[in-house]
Symmetry: C2
């Protein structure tokens, strides 16, 4: 049933080549590896062969010191999945992580995770919905939640001190545990939502005997610029968000605020980062009935241009001392921009990388169930995010938002070469 423009799969050869590269140094084996491995030699299907003139063909390098999807300039679509362990056999988790690494490296190039028709009597290795799409700058980023290091796998000694749960922060009165936390997370970002969905779905499928989906969140529309070349996006309150965000191309700034260094108590986290995810419901209808002058007071910036209320244009430094004729500061004491600013948080900064979301409507009220899926990467979330968030307890914006999910994740460093996999050092294998 293959057509002329589809190369006939040659599973034996591909399996062998890849399995060898894959297993060397990893010290793991298992029948399951064949699927991830079978696709490793770079098969391209007809559907992905003619992308050279297509913007969808753009890729983000997969291998490197850090995982992609952190300082990568932000893509337009997110699918974020939290998984719980179903298996507590360490070996099975290791094999899954190795297979995920092989699959993610292929997905980053726009390739399927395996052939469609190696055997007619077997399910296809790749689910297929992204066959005609390029990678559209897909990044896959994998991490571990605090619960991963409880007693089940016997890895408690590997838990970094910085992965202690954040606990209940000052504003956390509305958190839903069923959409918070989890043992393992996958962040898939792409310019195309179907590509991001496809990535998460295929990793979930590869891991179906080892993990189960705990919760899943889609996002659209960048909620922060992570690069100086990106126009600052707007949140669903219509304000530019992330004007003062860390810009990823500033490597020294990223080294200072984003990447875990040699100071870590767990060497396997060196070169990694900590991710905070927070789902923040925004009470859109209430906000939309608020006066523009009040909206601007709450944010501390103008709505149209994003300029600080102390004057200038979007990127002008904020002047918290500038006062109006009536003696009040131009930037309100309880404004979001003031309370979140590094100057008022001991210099602490975070790399925000959030997405807007909508879950349809809240059927109890007929209002939009929409808001911000906040994500922020940092060296230490207790010293950075939690500090800033506690300062935001007085934020005037809190009247219009409710956090409904909160999670902390340890994101291990990048995979440096073929054969490396997520958490390899943490599990005790040589790098």
């Amino acid at each position: 049933m293959s057509t002329a423009d589809t190369p006939e799969p040659t599973p034996g050869k591909r399996g062998r080549v890849n399995r060898r590269g894959f297993l060397t140094g990893a010290g793991i084996a298992g029948a399951g590896l064949a699927v991830g491995g079978a696709a490793g030699a770079g098969i391209t299907y007809s559907a992905t062969a003619d992308q050279s003139s297509d913007p969808g063909a753009a890729t983000v390098p997969f291998y490197g010191d850090h995982q992609a999807g952190i300082t990568t300039s932000q893509q337009n679509s997110l699918v974020f999945a939290a998984f719980d362990l179903k298996s507590t056999t360490v070996h099975e988790v290791e094999v899954m992580m190795a297979r995920w690494a092989a699959a993610a490296s292929l997905l980053a190039e726009g390739k399927p995770v395996g052939p469609v028709e190696s055997r007619p009597e077997a399910p296809p290795a790749d689910t297929g919905e992204a066959f005609d799409l390029g990678p559209h700058r897909l990044t896959v980023t994998v991490g571990f939640g605090p619960s991963f290091f409880d007693d089940r796998l016997g890895l408690a000694a590997k838990r970094p001190a910085a992965l202690a749960p954040l606990g209940q922060l000052a504003v956390d009165t509305t958190i839903d545990p069923s959409i918070s936390g989890g043992d393992i997370c996958v962040q898939a970002c792409s310019e195309d939502p179907q590509v991001a969905f496809h990535a998460v779905r295929n990793l979930a499928r590869i891991g179906r005997n080892v993990v189960t989906l705990r919760w899943l969140q889609e996002g659209f529309g960048r909620a922060s610029a992570t690069s100086t070349s990106q126009v600052t996006p707007r949140n669903l309150f219509g304000f530019k968000d992330g004007t003062a965000n860390i810009k990823a191309e500033e490597r020294s700034v990223a080294a200072q605020w984003v990447w875990v260094g040699d100071e870590t108590d767990q060497p396997w986290m060196s070169g990694g980062s900590y991710l905070v995810t927070r789902k923040i419901r925004m009470h859109i209808e209430a906000w939309d009935s608020d006066d523009i002058s009040d909206q601007e007071r709450i944010f501390g910036r103008t709505k149209d241009s994003g300029a600080p209320l102390s004057g200038g244009s979007e990127f002008t430094d904020l002047d918290f001392t500038a006062t109006s004729a009536d003696g009040h500061t131009e930037i309100d004491r309880f404004s979001h921009v003031r309370l979140a600013h590094a100057d008022n948080n001991g210099g602490a900064q975070i790399l925000r990388r959030g997405y807007n979301y909508t879950d349809g409507i809240d059927t109890r009220t007929g209002t939009l169930a929409a808001g911000l899926f906040f994500m922020a990467f940092q060296k230490n979330a207790h010293e950075q995010f939690a500090r800033i968030q506690n300062n935001l307890a007085q934020d005037a914006l809190n009247e219009y938002i409710s956090p409904i999910s909160s999670s902390l994740w340890a994101i291990p460093p990048g995979l440096t070469e073929i054969g490396d996999w997520y958490g390899k050092k943490m599990f005790g294998y040589q790098g």
Copy 2:
């Protein structure tokens, strides 16, 4: 607080000019018109002024014989909203429809529905989250459900015979009424999900005293090609979907199958169409464990290329008589492609325009709550969609899918000029 690059609003003049153009012939008035009207003269904000070199600047013409978003080549993102009437005062519904028309015409050009800062003590007319984005081919399509014509507004005599509810079709054992039906619908499609969301949100806001949101569905990834220049997209089962769909540029085919003609019992529907929306949950994990040969038997096409199992390539005609060596037809008797084909439905065709969706996970099972938000436009849904759907009662695919929402909508014809609005003729005003 306006910055130099933002033209200062001049509400008096804009309001007057627009209100005049708007009201002539419409015979309606109301304080509420000022907001829709205020933006009508073509204000552009700084954020939308520099889009000429931006693919986001692409527009779909708003005025015409038919509403946009039907034979328009399909965009990548959908936000579909169903509303129930909160007000049963006809005049208030008319005013809302007129304001929606004014707003939709501006949104189609990438303009806000009104100024941000006409008065500091008033909420901004536009919610702002699309200020920096072009229209990205935004289309807004408005329709009426059967319940719109019940006793509340006194418009029962205006209900077309073809808008009789579809009732329970053969496979409809899992329909959820809370996400089905509604008095009024809005389909917003754009290449950018934030632009589509912004459109629905601002129409909901304009209508907040007249209608309430009943349900809302987002979609991503075209699920059908509606133009011969579009690569056939794939559904979440990984198969090309819509190879044999009506191609919108075939005007004679659209006239035959999509557009209501002079045969209608309700002249206000001439030039309109009927839309069926169906939310179809796809049991992804079960599907993903099915053999490729069985998957292909169920669809009647190969997964990779989309060629019929009777041979050829994607666009080869299906041969339902071709038999294999063992005497069975190559295209299975219960295959989706056979049962849905026009030849097996008295020639009936529909214009499909669906989107893939995911709602996160089904918390009862930990499986993906994902599938297809099916949409199809046609001249008469009882003679077209319902006929085909009832033929699909035997579809082998039914084992893997469950319809969970089903709705029928009358889509009135296009707005032909400034001053026209949704349902104007239906409400009894001159065209």
